[in-house]
Symmetry: C2
Subunit: 198 residues, 2 copies
Amino acid sequence: MPKKKRQQQLLQIIEDNPFVTDRELTRQLKVSIQTIRLDRMELGIPELRERMKQMAEHSYDQVRSLPVDEVIGDIVDLQLDKSGISIFEIREEHVFSRNGIARGHYVFAQANSLAVAVIDAEIALTASADIRFVRMIRLGEKCISKAYVRSLAGRRGKAEVDVFTYVGEEMVFQGHFVVYRSVSEEYSEGVSRSADRH
Amino acid sequence: MPKKKRQQQLLQIIEDNPFVTDRELTRQLKVSIQTIRLDRMELGIPELRERMKQMAEHSYDQVRSLPVDEVIGDIVDLQLDKSGISIFEIREEHVFSRNGIARGHYVFAQANSLAVAVIDAEIALTASADIRFVRMIRLGEKCISKAYVRSLAGRRGKAEVDVFTYVGEEMVFQGHFVVYRSVSEEYSEGVSRSADRH
DNA sequence: TACATATTAGTACCAGGTTCTAAATTTTGA
DNA sequence: TCAAAATTTAGAACCTGGTACTAATATGTA
């Protein structure tokens, strides 16, 4: 078997089982352990322990950053009860591996998070939404959402927010959200239960 | 410092930094490395490498189950172009840690996934949706979504699907979805681009 | 004081490597 | 066809972050 092909196989084996030792690789590829190690060197694949360490650190980072993740997208501009802008880049974890197209609920989540953030209230909850996926969004595209508060019914009650999401000049998503604003006391009662807290 | 207190501290240190070595622990706790190791023994804390391995395996399991996760919820019944039922249990990772209430986009995703799955077509894409969060959903609740196909415009074009999500007898979410059904050729053209692939 | 508990020290050993030198084998180019 | 180059294999020394075990030395405490 040529060197290139072996290295491709090695890459594949490690990809679908990163917990494999060099010793196990020698058995699968029928070459010496030194060859395995030279191959790993050339391919820039770290040793088993380093791979596990990186995975552990990665997952630890994710766990740590989860609370931050409660709002999808970075809010870069916010004028309470008026408008807001958030940026969200479509990464690997947001797309279908099959075709690299963004999962709808991430696009929805960015808009939803922004619609709620823009409302100046102790508690804001999405009550309903009317949304449209104008075109599909691909891996790596940077989504810029702009929210505009259209109406406010007093200090409590319904607020209406329109959100438009763009990739460059192109609009890719639009949504009309009805958001309840309330103070904590109302929280366990009728009205504010009809909602989705953010 | 008494032994018990030291062991409590050791537990704490490792909890908020699982990547600490025994050597680093000796510096922080001012005892010999043997004492650290005896303490770890008594507390049942594995060595650094074992801790990292466990974290890596845990996160890998999660990554592995991601493709399955492309459809949110388990589809338990499906009559193509007619109706479908899916079950989705709200777990830790689906709620806001702050208050244990399900994030809206998971609830949306279950309904969306089902609405698309119920359509008998090579490619089905959500074009738009009109949704309502009837009441908030809490950690541990089991969401049962029922989808009904309301109209079908020929073998291609729009289909309308209504989805109702229940927790027990209570309706918690409802949505009206417009889904495009198409074959691959149309995929890169006008109509089918206005959508969100599932 | 004697006994128990806790702590420290030290040695041998392990997995799963890296790093380095060197030999053997295979491939390739002229 | 034959030598140079590339590839593969072998082996020894060393590394980290430990475990396992024995033994000596505090430190209480009854």
